[in-house]
Symmetry: C2
C-alpha cells in the first residue's frame, strides 16, 4: 500500500533523498566509511556542508545580503537565541501573537528580557478563547516605531493560519518560518532574520536553518555565550563545533531533489494546487466539513478542519489510515483533522486525499 504522509513534522521526504542515504549508509563516495563516521573537519563532509548551504541559497532564492547558517535545537531554541542576540538592554521588541508557537516565542523572549534588562511587547494578538482563527490586519497592530525587531510566525501549524501580507514597519522582521519555508517565495529585504526547523520542508529533524541579514546580525551582542551567537556561526561557516552531520547531509539530499522538481516556483505553484484541492472539498460540503479559519488567513501547508461529530472524525481518521493516509490527526491541543502539505508531499497525495474526503462526505 502506498503511504501518503501528512505528518505535521517530521514529515515526508523525497524518495530519492532517502534512497541516496540508504545507498551511502555504509560507504560514502568510496571512502569505505559511512557519512556518520566522517570527521566534520575533513573534505568529504565539508563539501557536503558547503553544498547544502549553496543549494539552500539557490532554492530559497536568498540574496547575498543574507547569511545562511545551521544551528541546533529547533525553532524553540531560536525563541531564546533571537532576543539574546538581537535585543540589547533597554531595548524593546514587538511580537505578534497568532498561535501557540508565536505565544511561546513571546514567553521565551519575556524570560530573556527579564534576565538582560530589556522588554518585549505584544504588538497584536488574534487569540479568542484560547484559539486563533486568523492573521491580524495591519491596522490592528500597535507597532512600536523603535522596536528592535518585529517577530511573526509566518504559518501557524496548529491552527492552520498563514500570513499572506506583512506588517508595515521599518523595523527588521524576524520570522519563525518553520512550517512554510520552501513552499513560497519570500521578500528577503523585509526580513532581518528567518529561522526554521528543517523537519517540515527542508529535511529531517535535528538541524535549524537560520537566514539573517549580514549587517544586522553583526550588530548582535557579542557578550553572550559564543555558542549562542549568530555571528560566531556565520564566521565559522556553521562549523563552530561539530554540526549535526547527518541532518545537514539530508538537507543537501532533500533540497537537491526539490530543485530537480523545478525549484521554488514549481513547488510554490504545486503548494497552491495541493491546498486548493483540499479546500475545494471542504467548501463543497459546508454542512459536513467545517474549516474554522477565516478564508483570507488560510494556510496552504496546514489545513485544519472539523467534521460534524467527534465520532465521525474518529471514523474518518481510521478509514483514512486503512487507505494509507497517515498523520491526519489534529494537534492534541485542538483535536479535529489536520492535513499537512509540506514541500516534499507530492500532488498525487493531496489529490488522493481530496478524493477520499469527497467520498467520505458523500457516504456520511
Amino acid at each position: 500500500m502506498r503511504i501518503h504522509n501528512f505528518n505535521p513534522g517530521p514529515s515526508a521526504l523525497p524518495l530519492a533523498a532517502k534512497e541516496r542515504a540508504q545507498r551511502e549508509m555504509l560507504d560514502i563516495e568510496g571512502t569505505g566509511i559511512s557519512i556518520l563516521e566522517h570527521s566534520h573537519r575533513e573534505r568529504t563532509y565539508e563539501a557536503i556542508h558547503r553544498e547544502a548551504i549553496a543549494l539552500l541559497r539557490s532554492y530559497l532564492q536568498v540574496p547575498e545580503t543574507h547569511e545562511i547558517i545551521f544551528m541546533q535545537g529547533g525553532g524553540r531554541m531560536q525563541f531564546a537565541f533571537v532576543p539574546l542576540n538581537m535585543l540589547k538592554p533597554g531595548q524593546s521588541a514587538d511580537y505578534v501573537i497568532t498561535g501557540a508557537w508565536a505565544k511561546q516565542a513571546y514567553e521565551e523572549a519575556q524570560r530573556v528580557s527579564a534576565l538582560i534588562g530589556a522588554s518585549v511587547r505584544k504588538a497584536g494578538s488574534t487569540e479568542v478563547d484560547g484559539r486563533f482563527n486568523r492573521i491580524p490586519r495591519n491596522e490592528e497592530l500597535v507597532l512600536d516605531p523603535n522596536a528592535a525587531y518585529v517577530h511573526i510566525t509566518t504559518n501557524n501549524t496548529i491552527f492552520g493560519t498563514q500570513w499572506h501580507w506583512l506588517p508595515e514597519t521599518n523595523a527588521p522582521l524576524v520570522a519563525d518560518a518553520s512550517s512554510d519555508i520552501g513552499t513560497r517565495s519570500m521578500d528577503w529585504k523585509r526580513f532581518g532574520l528567518v529561522y526554521a526547523g528543517a523537519q517540515k520542508n527542508l529535511g529531517p529533524a535535528g538541524v535549524t536553518v537560520v537566514i539573517a541579514r549580514k549587517d544586522w546580525m553583526r550588530e548582535g551582542r557579542s557578550d553572550i555565550p559564543q555558542i549562542f551567537q549568530y555571528r560566531a556561526y556565520a564566521e565559522s561557516e556553521s562549523l563552530l563545533n561539530t554540526p549535526p552531520v547527518f541532518a545537514i547531509y539530508m538537507v543537501r539530499n532533500t533540497v537537491q531533489e526539490l530543485l530537480a522538481w523545478g525549484g521554488l516556483s514549481a513547488i510554490e505553484k504545486e503548494s497552491e494546487e495541493k491546498a486548493r484541492m483540499i479546500y475545494d472539498v471542504i467548501d463543497s460540503f459546508p454542512d459536513f466539513y467545517r474549516a474554522p479559519v477565516e478564508k483570507e488567513s488560510r494556510s496552504r501547508v496546514n489545513i485544519v478542519f472539523r467534521l460534524p461529530t467527534e465520532e465521525l472524525e474518529k471514523r474518518f481518521l481510521s478509514q483514512a489510515k486503512e487507505r494509507g493516509f497517515i498523520g491526519l490527526k489534529g494537534h492534541r491541543s485542538v483535536g479535529g483533522i489536520r492535513a499537512s502539505l509540506y514541500a516534499a508531499l507530492r500532488k498525487e497525495s493531496a489529490e488522493a486525499l481530496a478524493d477520499f474526503m469527497e467520498k467520505f462526505a458523500k457516504g456520511h
Copy 2:
C-alpha cells in the same frame, strides 16, 4: 581494503548499527515510511526514544538517582547551559583547566556569569606554554568549599590526557565526558551532572547526552528560557520539542550493539587493552615515538604522540592512509599524531595500528 577509523569524532560506529539504519531507511517496522519521516509524537518513534534512554541507563550503569536526557548543540552548548541552570546570582563555580575544551567551558561560564551576576573561578590549571600534558594532583587544586559545582573535563581530546582520579570536594562534580563516556565505569554518586556529545562513543553527531542527579537538577533555575532548562527536558522525557530523531535512533542502534559486545565492563577492558597496545609500541621505541603526556595522565581514548621530525610524521600519516588507517592526524592546533580509540573501535584495529607503528619505527 578494510578501513580502520581513528577519527577523533564523529568516529567509528558498529557495523550492525549502520546496517540496521540502511535496512530501515525506506521503511521502518513495516510502517511504509522512513524513521526520518515519523512524527516524534507517534508510537514508532516514541518506543525507539524510550528504548534509547533505557539502553543508555543499562549500558552506562546509571542509577535511578540520575536522569538521562537528550539535548542538542553538542558539549559546547552545555558550556553555557550548565552555568545558566546551576549557577545562581551571587554564587561561584570552580573550573579545573586541563585542555582547550576545559578552557572554553570556563570562558563560556565567564560570559554567563557576567550576564547573570555570578562568578567562576579557576580552581587549577596545568597549562604550560599553551599546552597541557597532565592532570593536576588533588593537592594542586585550590577548591572553593562553597562552590556551586566543580567542573572537570574527564578526557582531553586534543592533548590526550585523562582523569584517573577525582577532585576531593563536597560540591557536585560536573563533567564534560564527551570523549570517554561509555569507555569506563563512573562513580555516579560523585557526579551532579555529566554531559557528552554522542559522536565519539555513543552514536552520531547531533545529540548530546546529559545525565544529571535528579534532586540537584531540580534546584536549577526556572527563570531562564524553558528550552535551556534541564528540568523541562526531564519532565517531558526529552520530548519538549522535536528531538533529533535520527541521531537518537542511531544512539539506540549503537548502544544496543555495545551491550551485545558484552556491555561496559567488556568495553572498558577492551579499551585498556587497545590503549596498552599502542602505548607499548610508543614506549618500546622511545627514540622514535615521543608521547608528551605524563604517564599517570595518559588517555586511553586519545593517544597523542610525535615522531622525530614533521617530515617523518607526514610520511607516517601517508603510509598509514594507504593501509586504511584514517583520522590519525593530530588536532590542527598541536600537530603530531593522534589515535582515537573510542568505544566502537574494535581491538583488531588497534592491533593493526600497533603492528604498523612497530614496523614503521623499525624501518626508519
